[in-house]
Symmetry: C2
DNA sequence: TTGTCGCCGTGACTCGGGTCACAGTGACCC
DNA sequence: GGGTCACTGTGACCCGAGTCACGGCGACAA
């Protein structure tokens, strides 16, 4: 995840050096975000110009379902979760977003209220782009519109897959599915992003206990291994079969 | 849902009259589709130019999950369903599309395989726009890109809502939800698009029998009325309460 | 009329998985 | 060290809802 520090020449600069240096670093960062990947340095700078940075402590509610929404957020550091919250406190996790991910584009596009809560799961720093500024920039940079379409497509595919798994799979099947989705293949083993059973259960609409039992079962069968809370996939094929409807 | 028949002047026309007349009618039709609503007649004609019309008999598979996809489809007449199909034959209905709805944009945007099956539920006529042609046109007409973003946003909101209801609501709650979603307010009563219990059950991930029982319960409580297979909402407030998590 | 067909309603049985209640296990901090 | 806290593992119990099995009913064709 390395990228060239803006060595060489820098675009015209008028303001105080310290400010511009930080804007350069923001522009560098934006260049690593898929949404802005296609842009050249000048365009990245103009997007950096319209950002404000905000910090949120762990557990802070960043946006609430039903709020009028007029900003796009990019995670610069930390982690946030997108959740639906029922009145009795139960939570459904629609997604966990890390560095380089973004949220808030729906309200930005259609102007309707926020469709979910977003809550910081660790101390996080977010770049905020307000609607009017963002739209003006996007009109100059149609590639960003295209990148947005790609991103929404990806999410829609994922959401449809989740719906399918909720209806067609039993809980162990859904557990297998999240494991596979959060696996990063590598040597010597393919690891899984660490997360608590509680979080997994809220991602797949199950109880913590049932997830726990499924994980035990997978260990006994030798499909996964757990060492010091780090899960690794041992038998990917078996997991994939378990995650397929109607074995 | 009426719109002016192209009275008055018509844009330049070279081809055989019969062909152009039909293209004019297609352009008229496209003008009623939200995706193309912002376009002027000339632009509508240029989109009409790149369409091919296809007919599909009831039950025909129009696209299959996993296929490489490179076309956008607009429903001109009839009705189709978007479904996930498990190996054992169980089906999840992700959506039912009628006249003016469209599908296939995901593969068009990201070039990945189709994410679901689309099957004609009645004899249907579809307009097909192939990827290369469509992209070329969209580059001329950025409003269409924006309309696509609006449409994907709408669907994503809906998909997230479905996920929430699958996890947070019991079956009667989900039944109440589909009823409300398919209600068209009007005088003297707010009607619900007719659909079989079978179809409803596949939309909400439940069995036909459980849906049947929920409908009976709602009738007994006086929340809905059924006459000759036409369902009408009597007590909308009660239904809305039932469709909210954690009553 | 009588068959056939697709859809609806209901009872009986079963079971996946939610809930409750605890016990165990690290990790971290006084 | 010991206390606190967040997480995990497991047994017991129970309920929502899936499945199976019918019977009824309206529509439509022969």
């Amino acid at each position: 995840m390395s990228y060239p520090l803006s060595s060489g020449h820098v675009p015209l600069r008028f303001a105080a050096p310290s400010m511009s240096v930080s804007l350069d670093r923001i522009a560098d960062f934006l260049g690593t975000v898929p949404l802005f990947r296609e842009l050249d340095r000048v365009a990245l700078r103009s997007f950096a110009d319209i950002t404000r940075e905000h910090k949120y402590g762990k557990g802070t509610v960043i946006v609430s379902e039903g709020d009028p929404g007029d900003a796009l957020y990019v995670v610069r550091t930390g982690e946030v979760k997108v959740v639906l919250v029922a009145e009795d406190g139960r939570e459904v996790i629609l997604g966990v977003l890390g560095v380089g991910d973004h949220f808030g584009e729906l309200s930005l596009i259609d102007g309707r209220p926020r469709s979910a809560h977003v809550i910081a799961t660790s101390t996080s720093s977010l770049l905020v782009l307000r609607r009017a500024d963002f739209r003006r920039q996007v009109e100059q940079q149609p590639q960003v519109g295209w990148a947005l379409l790609m991103e929404l497509s990806r999410r829609l595919r994922q959401a449809d897959g989740t719906i399918g798994s909720l209806v067609l799979l039993d809980v162990p099947g859904r557990v297998a599915r999240v494991l596979l989705e959060n696996a990063t293949p590598g040597q010597p083993a393919t690891l899984i992003k660490p997360m608590t059973h509680q979080v997994m259960s809220q991602m797949i609409g199950a109880s913590r206990e049932t997830v726990s039992r499924a994980m035990s079962e997978f260990q006994e069968k030798g499909w996964i291994a757990v060492a010091r809370r780090q899960v690794t996939i041992v038998d990917r094929v078996a997991l994939e079969a378990r995650a397929r409807p109607a074995l």
